[in-house]
Amino acid sequence: MEGVWSEELRKTFRSGRTRSVEWRKSQLRAILKMLEDHQNHIFNALLQDLSKHPIEVYRDEIGVVKKSANYSLSNVEKWMAPKKGQIPLLFFPSRGEVLPEPLGVVLILAPWNFPISLALDPVIGAISAGNTIVLKLSELAPACSAFLASTIPLYLDHTAIKVIEGGTDIAEQLLQQRWDKIFFTGSPRVGRIVMSEAAKHLTPVTLELGGKCPAILDSLSDPSDIKVAAKRIAGGKWGPCSGQACIAVDYVLVEHEFASILIESLKKAISRFYGGSLENLKNLSRIVNKHHFDRLRNILKDPIVAASIVYGGSLDEKNLIIEPTILLNPPLDAEIMTEEIFGPLLPIITLTNIQQSIEFINSKPKPLALYAFTKNETFKKQILTETSSGSVTFNDVMVQFLCDTLPFGGVGQSGFGRYHGKYSFDTFSHEKAVLHRSYFLELEPRYPPWNDFKMEFIRLAYKFDYLGLLLLLLGYQLRRTFTSSHLH
């Protein structure tokens, strides 16, 4: 079936329909309308798949997509316009421009943790750039998958945008085919598979992966700052899908003396946001499935890790809920500190001096996001220049995701390629260089047979030395570094 679909999509692409600004805008508007019409369906689907609270759903899914679609709607025409390039005078008369063109038929592989926004946000980019699209949804968020598969064809141009549901076998089949771009959000392990398959067809790939995103917490002196920082960390760890987010805080780095202050503040924030004990937890997403629940449970099974729990640690297997859990200095060689946690466990690692956090972070693969709470400007600068990550956010978490003007994407282990706003458009476009020349003014020295005069001319031309060129044409002999003997 997929084979037939890709034929149809290629045909649609060749017809040129998806290139027009009208088509692109109509599809973006259709996405907005779909979200407007089906808000409650989406709330329900996410309640089923992940027990996400509707406000969380609005904040992290519906709202994000609407914002992206609106931003693209108001900018896409500008993005599509050719960019005039500067042309050196020597090429006169000529005209250069860079013309963005759609890549063709693209494949978007969406994850389960933000099954609406991480599916539709790249789709918005692909539509804005004028591509035809196959969107493969995650089978691990079945309600959202079913919702999008049944609803998208009712709103979007189904000859240009196809939605496919299914598991690994379907993904494997899709990857066998030739695409003009593959956009993948998920784990580094699957990212490697996607890239190896893409290599067979020389397909460019964007990989949005994750990693252990650290939060550095400097020893803040103002109690109200500490409160804000703790709130933001608590919001950025357990808020978005209960830590099952690629830009969630993975662990916190603090100085020894500051750890207890942080833990107390976090406890307060947790009880206010999510409730006090396992029985009356609220506003907290569940773990996506038994497999991931077991993975997280196993992390906590290690006796030394279990001994480092200072808050939480209870599990509700029936409802797949794990209490917000704080660990103080678990062993650095335990799984909790070597692998991405992707769940509601928050290790706090203490250091003698907060400056050591730079070295600590650099000893691990490059994360997708780095968070630092500090008022020390020198330290900020040091973090910026001495560490590497997809993004750096000072004194807050997660909000960088909402800025359409900032590129969103990883580096090293956290992926490559970037999207959001104009970057989404660029990710799905080819920048075609176009140079127009005329027949007027022919430079004779471009042509063989070669001689000294021509060599001198070209030397000056490359330096854009117009006076020299003029003198040369007038017959003046110029300094020669090249003797004629080199010219056979």
């Binding site: 609270h53 509707p54 406000i55 609005y58 904040r59 709202g63 914002k67 500067q86 042309i87 250069g96 860079v98 013309l99 890549l103 063709g104 580094p188 490697r192 893409a198 290599a199 067979k200 020389l202 103002d222 804000v228 709130k231 933001r232 808020g239 946001f273 910026l384 220049t385 990550s389 750096v392 000072f394 004194n395 807050d396 909000v399 960088q400 909402l402 800025c403 359409d404 003007t405 900032l406 590129p407 969103f408 090293g412 992926g415 390629g417 080819h430 075609k432 260089a433 140079l435 127009h436 020349r437 027949y439 022919e442 471009r446 063989p448 070669w450 060599m455 070209i458 030397r459 490359y462």
Partner: protein, 493 residues
Amino acid sequence: MASEFEKKKKEEEVFGAEAATSLVKELRATFTSQKTKSYEWRVSQLKSLLKLTNDHEKEITDALRSDLSKPVFESYVYEIALVKSSCEFMLKELKHWMMPDKVKTSIAAFPSSAEIVREPLGVVLVISAWNYPFLLSLDPVIGAIAAGNAVVLKPSEISPATSSLLAKLLGEYMDNSAVKVVEGAVPETSALLEQKWDKIFYTGNGKVGRIVLAAAAKHLTPVALELGGKCPLFVDSNINLKVTARRIITGKWGLNNGQACVAADHIITTKDFATKLIDALKLELEKFYGSDPLISEDLSRIVSPNHFARLTKLLDDDKVSGNIVHGGQRDEINLKIAPTILLDAPEDSLIMNEEIFGPLLPIVTVGSLEDSFNDMNSKEKPLAAYLFTNNKKLKEEFVKNVSAGGLLINDIALHLTNPYLPFGGVGESGMDSYHGRFSFDTFTHKKAVLYRGFSGDVSARYPPYTPRKLRLLKALLSLNFVGIIRALLGSSN
């Protein structure tokens, strides 16, 4: 002493996994030391490259003559001068490219400021090609250095003189703790590809490109592939025939005798015009290269016996035996092939189905150029496509309908000398681009940086969630100011 020398030589000979690992380790240590990130270091290295090129023009042209019998003039125009102008352009622009870009932030994150900081990727590998062995080695290296990376260059073993010259000169002129040359063939390249790089920049063919990409996948390394393809040249009939013929010759035989990724692969023109064009080409060819082009000093030779055999196979294909209308002479001993023109070679002949990469130029006749633009869509996307015409409408159709890495109207290959245009392929002709600012970008990570204070927290971000918070969030995300105010006024939180 002698035995030590022998030992060292032996170590150099077997550049295997171990040597590659320690090489990368050394460069990573240099990169971690922050040295390569400074503006001063980058400038000093670019200046050294410029000096290296200025000081050794003669050796460079000699090496290219030895590898390819490349005319000195061509070596200067397409290799030496381009490397120099590339260095000079970087030196001029680098400072402001390195500056962070301030960007606006959204109201959802208010109050805050944001910027995009450029940081080098780390330790990068440049694998170069044999046809422009000096330019295609150093041009990416210039980008890698300008962006502040440590870099390993692997020049092509098929142009051995240039390869060893590059190893020698870069050893003498560059900071060897950060810039290294590894010479060698397949085993050395394989050893290098097993390492973890922060970027691989490969120039060559699609077959090896796939191998590079698959190797990079294991380490999640981003890759730039500069490949080739069958670059078509469309010729309309309403043009200045003489100028066109001369530009075509320069853009085919004047580019390393057709051994260039941007050289015109074949011509597409209308039936009635083909003979006129062929006559003009013949006339100008003789003016350029004399009556016996096999002895012309202004034409490169074929790089190796392998490639010579590949090209003669294209010519000796039974399917094209009646199609050669000009040239066809060859000199196997000196690896020379004369400029050769074929008319209407059958579609299923070898020459029409693989990248020619040599001095053979098939001319395909069609009823209308416009229709042939559309036929392009069923073929692989080439690195470049060319059109000679004075017809404005045809130009527009061409730009709109033909997809290629770059398009050039009324000339050939000139676009690659323009530092303001990205140079790179799409589809089968590669991915990612370079030249000028694009070279800097291809070796740079754009790090998003957001600065926030501790004030201005919108409680709606945090649980416990209430309907009021939902209203506020909706207003914030849709920039509905009245809604924001109403939600805030209504909120006692």
